[in-house]
């Protein structure tokens, strides 16, 4: 105790054998973290505590929460927020930005292809049965011309860093990615409780997200809307874990947030029920999954959806963002082929690498997975949020046996990847720093052009040693600073 007490807490930190976002080695911070480290080292334990409390209170009072157990008895929790921001340099960001743009363009060309003539399938660049048999593939939308050829207006791709510091794409979220409200709110809260740590940094602002999103949504309105498209946000309702975000975005864009029961379809057009009678709707930013959109076309027991919506969509009289059927491209098995899409459609080399992915549907790879399951991460192709996965090195023999069975019984339903040594970032724990694994979810908007919001959600696995960063599994968040050019 006496030895650490004589040194400022910030420097008594052991980066370990992982890539550490802040430290090169024990006691030596990366140059762009120097000013931050300086600010941190002058703070007393009590002062950090006080700010942490202020931040927690701020999230609580403003109701920035997510629901843990869905349903009327659900509990609302705040996402644990770590005060120490994560910094990304302008140079690192440029690569991420270019890499994501390339990826999103290729994914949209892929979607357009497989819902039209399917050239990529005929040329066997990707096995057709993998695509057509994917749960995310939606026959109902074949042949539809979507405005601007855009299927994924909002993408939240998850990036991770390995021991060498290289960024990899871990997965793409192309259906209803969430978390962007935390990108904005974490920044607002940090500014409020600890404004002076921004001193000396030129951090790119993230406030503009909602307005950029509105531009995208207006740009993809059906022609007949002319200059006055009515854009709405469709939420599953207050029980949904991301409800706060839905309200946050609707408010930021100044558009109406609606539930399924607020809308109806008449004569091929979508209307909302207002106190002044029906009002036409042109664009729906939907935060409801494909399956629940239209009980006539998909799950017939869905009360969240709007009967007849898909028919109206097929007629081009309403735009849905993201487009139904986009989920096929974030299938975790199809992920393995995205680099070949980039080469096939754009004739370019992928800028951001992907993780080596083993597909049990290939006999050799199945054999490999079964033999090495203790070293691999096994994931269900259709689930997200950290559900339905096995982290080999952290699992018991019984869990491994269970997953061997699962994979053997349903080879198309799983993939396996090497267990990554995710990078770590110092987090404030009690009265000192401890390393915690982090990932990064930037948000990409695609309308007339591709725009990557300069920032992102840094998710933190709060339990020591854990690699699972999902908020549903107790993950927390950090403010994420992308530095402007001048400050590096």
């Amino acid at each position: 105790m006496t030895t650490t007490a004589s040194r400022p807490g910030v420097f008594a930190y052991e980066p370990g054998e992982f890539w550490d976002e802040m430290f090169v080695s024990a006691g030596e911070v990366r140059p762009y973290y120097a000013s931050l480290a300086q600010a941190l080292s002058t703070l007393s334990h009590a002062e950090v505590e006080r700010r942490q409390r202020a931040a927690d209170l701020s999230f609580q009072a403003r109701g920035i929460t997510f629901a843990v157990n869905q349903g009327p008895e659900g509990v609302e929790k705040i996402m644990p927020f770590d005060l120490v921001p994560r910094i990304i340099t302008a140079e690192e960001w440029r690569k991420i930005e270019r890499g994501l743009e390339q990826r999103v363009r290729a994914l949209n060309l892929f979607l357009d292809d497989i819902y039209h003539d399917g050239a990529i399938l005929r040329q066997n660049v990707v096995p057709p049965e993998l695509v057509l048999g994917s749960r995310g593939y939606c026959r109902e939308v074949r042949g539809i011309e979507v405005p601007l050829g855009v299927y994924t207006h909002i993408v939240g791709s998850d990036l991770v860093r390995d021991e060498s510091g290289e960024f990899y794409v871990l997965e793409d979220n192309l259906r209803t990615p969430s978390g962007v409200s935390y990108v904005v709110e974490n920044r607002r809260v940090l500014k409020r409780v600890w404004s002076h740590i921004f001193h000396g940094y030129d951090v790119r602002p993230v406030e503009g997200y909602a307005q950029d999103l509105l531009d995208v949504l207006r740009a993809v309105a059906p022609q007949e809307a002319e200059d006055e498209p009515n854009v709405v946000l469709l939420t599953p309702g207050v029980y949904n874990s991301a409800y706060f975000e839905h309200a946050f975005l609707a408010k930021g864009m100044g558009i109406q947030m609606v539930e399924g029961s607020d809308l109806f379809v008449d004569d091929g057009m979508v209307f909302m029920r207002t106190t002044r009678g029906p009002q036409r709707v042109h664009v729906i930013y939907r935060r409801v999954d494909d399956d629940f959109l239209d009980p006539l076309a998909f799950r017939n027991d869905s009360m969240l959806g709007i009967p007849g919506l898909l028919a109206s969509y097929r007629m081009g009289r309403v735009t849905l963002a993201n487009a139904p059927g986009a989920g096929v491209a974030d299938d975790k098995a199809i992920y393995a082929y995205v680099p070949s899409f980039i080469t096939y459609y754009l004739g370019e080399e992928p800028i951001l690498p992907t993780i080596r992915t083993y597909l049990p549907s290939e006999p050799d790879e199945l054999q490999f997975i079964l033999e090495h399951i203790g070293e691999l991460v096994v994931k269900s192709v259709n689930e997200s949020g950290g559900y339905g996965m096995l982290v080999g090195p952290h699992s018991t023999r019984a869990e491994q046996d269970k997953f061997r069975e699962l994979v053997r019984a349903n080879p198309r339903g799983y993939i396996a990847q090497p267990t990554l040594a995710l990078s770590r970032h110092p987090c404030w724990v009690d009265d000192h720093f401890e390393g915690r694994h982090v990932d990064l979810r930037p948000f990409v908007l695609f309308g007339r052009e591709v725009k990557v919001t300069p920032g992102g959600l840094t998710r933190v696995a709060m339990r020591p040693g854990s690699l699972v960063v999902n908020s549903s599994q107790g993950g927390g968040g950090k403010d994420t600073w992308v530095l402007a050019d001048a400050s590096t």
């Binding site: 403003r62 109701g63 109406q256 029920r273």
Partner: protein, 341 residues
């Protein structure tokens, strides 16, 4: 922007619940004082509290059992203010208000939402509330101010458009309902023989005024001692004081007029019933009310308010019923949880 029916309905109920919560605090706080004034809190205290239970006595703190011992003042107070199982307790009203506010979070200002949420969090820790027994008065005051601030922010930070008119309509309709209920609870004082006020009755009528937040305004208006018929006149028929039934119905009427001026043809029935009720209060005198029978008069006012509310629902909020919707949404939410990105 046109107003969604669901949003209109939640706006209306949001402010009704806030107003109801404020009324509960006033009554509970004033009754606690009344009990202290009676001199012997243990023996008779509960007499002051029992009338407050009103029709809810059946399922109140005694659970409707005839053999159960009479509830203690403390139990009644808990039941009215903090019992989460009582659907019209203070905590339940604030919880309902917050649920409604969450539904319309994108339609109200952030300041207003945060204030609703703060009020909810203030009441959220029942253990802490029980510790407060010592200084309950200060606590009630804080909560009341917090709730009043919601209404203040609603007026100051939300555009006075159609959605806001529904907030206003909810507030005033609820207030008219609360004040007429309060008078009804005490009208036996007026009808039990002598109208001339004995000392005890004066204290009680003062308490009635306080429960409606109106004691000072009454004194200022009449500058004479508390007289039951004048209290009645003031709270029921005063045209200028914002806590009176007549004033509240007038304000509700204004809100409804500006809503229906711009909306669908189906808005006729609520406009008609509220208009008639308001006219009745405007063109009657307190003597006529007493002659008619105070109890009956107040009962008919409350019935009419309930009718207005029903007709509002049919005209503006629900064109068609949607049974079982909440359950299905909760189930779908569970299925979707697994697919959350």
């Amino acid at each position: 922007m046109a107003l969604l029916c669901r949003v209109a309905e939640n706006m209306f109920w949001l402010n009704r619940y806030v107003e109801r919560a404020i009324a509960i605090i006033r009554v509970v706080d004033v009754t606690a004082h009344l009990e202290l004034d009676s001199g012997d809190p243990d023996a008779q205290g509960v007499d002051f509290w029992i009338p407050l239970l009103g029709p809810s006595l059946e399922t109140g703190p005694t659970n409707g059992s005839a053999d159960a011992p009479a509830p203690l003042p403390h139990d009644v107070r808990y039941y009215l203010a903090f019992d989460p199982d009582n659907p019209s307790s203070l905590v339940s009203c604030v919880r309902h208000a917050r649920s409604a506010a969450r539904e319309v979070r994108d339609s109200i200002s952030s300041e207003m939402w945060e204030q609703v949420n703060t009020s909810f969090l203030m009441l959220g820790e029942p253990d802490r509330v029980r510790d407060l027994e010592e200084d309950l008065h200060a606590f009630y005051r804080r909560v009341r101010d917090s709730l009043l601030l919601i209404q203040g922010l609603a007026d100051a930070t939300v555009a006075h458009d159609e959605a806001w008119q529904f907030l206003s309509l909810g507030k005033y309709l609820e207030r008219a309902d609360n004040v007429s209920r309060l008078l009804r609870q005490h009208c036996h004082l007026l009808t039990s023989g002598a109208v001339a006020s004995s000392g005890d009755d004066t204290v009680r009528w003062l308490a009635v005024l306080r429960s409606a937040g109106s004691a000072e305004a009454y004194s200022r208006y009449y500058s004479l001692r508390v007289e039951p018929t004048r209290v009645l006149e003031f709270l029921l028929l005063n045209p200028l004081f914002p806590q009176s039934v007549r004033y509240s119905l007038g304000a509700a009427w204004e809100a409804l007029k500006s809503i229906s001026g711009a909306t669908m043809a189906g808005s006729g029935p609520p406009v008609r019933s509220l208009g008639m009720l308001r006219a009745r209060l405007e063109h009657t005198s307190v003597d006529e009310v007493v002659e008619f029978g105070l109890e009956e008069f107040l009962a008919s006012v409350q019935d009419d308010i309930a009718h207005v509310s029903e007709r509002l629902t049919r005209a503006f909020f629900r064109y068609a019923p949607q049974p079982g919707r909440d359950r299905s949404i909760a189930r779908a939410a569970q299925i979707m949880a697994a697919q959350q990105q």
